[in-house]
Structures are given as C-alpha cells and as structure tokens.
Amino acid sequence: MSGAFFLALAYLRHNFGRTAVLVLALALILFVPIATRLVLEAAEEQLTARAQSTPLMVGSRGSALDLMMNGLYFSADRPQPVTMTATEAVWNSDLAIAIPIYVRFTAGQQPVVGTTLDYFDFRGLKLAEGRGLATLGEAVLGARAAQRLDLKSGDLLITDPENLFDLTGSYPLEMQITGTLAPTGTADDDAVFVDLNTAWVIEGLGHGHDDVIEQDMAVSVEAGNVTANAALTQFTRITPQNIDSFHFHGAPQDYPVSAVIAIPWDGRAAAILRGRYLAPEAPTQIVVPDQVVQGLLATLFRISRVLDAVFVVVGAAALVAVALAVYLSLKLRADEVATATRLGCHRLAIGRMLLAEIFLVTLAAIALVALALGATFNRMGDLAIWLITT
C-alpha cells in the first residue's frame, strides 16, 4: 500500500466517528437523488406497462385519472361507480370483451378486487399454489398480499369494516382463500381477488340468513316483502351449508362496478367503441389508459426536473459542507503537516495524502450507496406501486 493511502487509512480509522459522519453525509447526497430517480423510473415503467396493456376503460364521467388509477392500480381514490349496464353496453356492442372491476373494499388493508375470471386470462395471472375462484365467498391472493398477510390457500380472510361506528354499514365477510397468484411485479400482487358477486355480497347487495318465516322472526309479511326482527343473524361467512341461502336484492343491471376494461377486437372496433362515448351528456366515459398515463408522466417529468434542480442545489451545498469539513480537518492537522514538511515531505505528497483520504471516504460512501441500493432495489417497484396507488 502506498504511503499516502496507508496514512489516510490510519487517519480515517483513528477518527472513526468523524469519518463515519462524513461517509454518511456523502452517501446520503448520492443515495437520495439516485433512489428517487430509480423510483420515478420504476413508477414510469409500471404506469406505462400497465396502461399499454389495457386498451380501453369505461367508467363514470369525471376524472379520467381517478378512473384509470382505480381500474388499473386499485388505488384508494374511488371514482363514482357505474352500473353493470355499462358492462353490458360493451358486451352488446360486439366490438370488445368487457371485464368489469369493482374496487371498493379492503381486507387486511389490501384492496379487494371484484371481477370475472376473464380478468385472470387478460392479465395472464397464474396460480402459485391452490386453485382459482369457484364459488361465492372465495378469494385468491396476489403474491405480495399473501406475503404481507401471511396467508395461503385454506386460510380465512375477513374484509375490513368500512366504518366501525356505522351500524347500518355492510358487515365484514369472512372469505375462504383458495389460492395465491405468482408474482407479476404489478398492482395485481397487492390485490385480494374475489368474484364480482362476492364483492356485491360485501357491499350488502347480496346476503344469506336463516329462513325468517320458519324461525318466526318476521315482523311483517307483505306481498313479496318480508321484514325480519333484530334476532335474525346474517351469515358473515359463506359455507357449503349456507350458500343456498345467499341471494341478491334489486336488479343486477343496477349493481355497481368501478370500471369496465374493454378489449376491442381490433383498431377499427376500438375507434367505433370510443365514438359511442363522445356524447357529453352520457353518464359514462371511455378512456385510453396509455394517453392518460402520458399526461401523468409529463407532469411527473416536470416534477422530476424540479427535483433534479433541488438535488443539485442541496448536493452542491452538502459538497461545500464536506469540503469545509476537509479544510477544517487539514487546519486541525497543521502540526502534522509542519512535521512532515520539516522531515522533508514534498508538498505533492501532502496533497496526495489528502486526496487519498477524500478518495477513501468517497469510496466508502459509494460502497454504502451500492449496498443501500442493492438492499432496496427489489423494493423500488413496490415503492413505485405504493406511490402510484396512495
């Protein structure tokens, strides 16, 4: 090892605390902009990939961004729901396949996504273990959701109550987990998938209970309408024994969905379908997710540029602080420099020693940044999805 590096290493080791602070400060200066850039890139990739794979999306009029974020990423910002009529309209057009999605509830803080089996085919979702959805009350977990909730097929998962103090609100439903999906690196990993009918049961549109007449719980019986008293227990779990008692109230075409993914047969079909939603008075709109994402990315890009400028200023200020620390350190070592000079040390050798110190500190900071990035790199995608959905 050269003398300069030997002395630099010995000095840095001797002043471990000071060195550690310097290394940490430098590492932070490097890590924050790089990590931010990586997260933004991951978010951009996530947004673009998911949007590009979703040709069209039908939903209520209003914010196209909210509609897309809820339909693609199951975000907490819920657009006004549309009814199943919107799904049927797409089906009946003979221009596209319609996949309804209903995202309103959560289970273990993970979004419960009510949909049809077409969704699994459309997104290419594969089971890692267990089986898919078969009957009412069953759930399939996304890979990350299963990991976070520490659940697998055979376990039970209860939906989160919407409001603890709302006694008239929908009852939590205990769902049977039938399988876990393989990881996809998308928002699907965070979801709890249920059949659309199960989502409507959670909503309260469908329910199961004992026979009111047989149990003598009827308060009044009018034509086609039975009112039960408070002793009637509603089932909070759907089992083979009680599944037959589950039934829905109201007209199915009025049941809510958050969005409808429309997969047109071809470009012409897509253009015709889009034309059908142009009327401004129509209660529904059709959006091209890719176009919405491009608009969002333009905003993100502007924010990113502002962030870059902020990082440059903060980085420059931090570098000046580090330079000051090095200068002060040199001042404190004036005696050592004087001794070295008296012994015959060349000015350049003193410079080399200082450069070796800066090099070692920078190297340690870069190593620390590499370690931190290595440890967090796999989480960048998760963080990006979290940023997108919250």
Binding site: G3, A4, F6, L7, A10, Y11, R13, H14, N15, D335, E336, A338, T339, A340, T341, R342, L343, G344, C345, H346, A349, I350, M353
Partner: protein, 220 residues
Amino acid sequence: MISLRDLAFAHPGGGFRLEVPDLTVTKGERVAVVGPSGTGKTTLLNLVAGLLIPQSGTVDVGDTCVSRLPDPARRAFRIGTIGFVFQNFALIDYLTAGENILYPYRITNALELTADVRVRAKNLAQAVGLAGKLARKPAALSQGEQQRVAICRALITQPTLLLADEATGNLDPENKDLILDLLFEQAAAQNATLLAVTHDHALLDRFDRVIDFANFRTSR
C-alpha cells in the same frame, strides 16, 4: 560536515537578524548550541536543514550546498540526510509507535520501506526500550517514551546529521539523562553528527563542543 560561511539571515517580517561569519562542525562531532532565548538557535538549525534560506552566505552539509538547492531538492536532502528530534516530540497521534518510527518512509517516495528497514526499526525500538510498546499510540505513552519514539524516527533513515531542538526540554531530570544517553549512543552507532539546541547547562559537559550564541551577532 557542516560549514556556514558569511551567513546572514533576516526574517521576512524584519526585526530579527542573525549573522554567522564562520562555523564548522566536523563529522561525528556532538555539538551543543546554547544562548539566551530569541538569539537564533532554532533559526540556525532551520538554516542547516534548508528550512530557511539565508539572504547571503552559504550553508554546506557534507558536499551539498543546502542554501543553493531548489525547494524539492532541499526536501529530498532533508529526508535523506537529516534526522530531526523536536522538543514537543511531534509524533503523529493517529499512528502507533511502530508506525511513527517508519513515518519518514510513508511521506516520500525517495525512501523505500523494505523488510530491512522494518527490522532496523524493531532493533532501534528494542535498543531504546520500546520493544513491547510499538503497537501503542502516542497518547498511551509517557513523555519519555514519546521522545524515544521520536529519536527512533530520527534515526531510522540512518541520517548523517542529527538535529535536536530542545530534545530534553519537556522531560524530567531522569528522562533527560536517559534520552541524551540514547541520542549519543545511537548517533555514535551510526557515526552521525549531532547538533543539539539546549537550555540545560547541566548537560553541556557531555557534548564535545558548545557553541554559545552570545558570540554571534544577532540584532532585533
């Protein structure tokens, strides 16, 4: 060994001026430099070492005219020819005693740190009674031990000239004698010339010669 001719030096700020018409120290001689404070004893050492350049006259050490060398050459001359011992020891606090002894080899490419040098450092440390303390840093050594490390550092390059500036000034009487013994002993072992500034008149009879700065013309 050392020859100063018609030397005149004044600090750039003015005020102090030292004149040495003629001074010669022969090889292997042990010379004490005494005189009242501020008469230029340390300045003399610095002139001999090439740390200061006289306005006129010459400073020769062996065959080298130090006063005419350019700065890089004077530095190279210093590290290859001179061993320094300072009053405040001037050890490097972040290095161990052993590393301090080898310090001259770390600050220049002109000297090569070989296995022989390491063996010499160990032998020197053993000779001055530091064998078991080479892994300690200066803060963990007594003042006497620190000066012993400084002496080893001064001798490790096998200099032909040893310059000691109040080398015993910070030591208790017992250590003063011990350090001086070591300095004489090691200088003799390497046949090095010793030029030592001291205020301690009790030590003067141990030197071959005493140069009293009261005899040189200095002014303020």
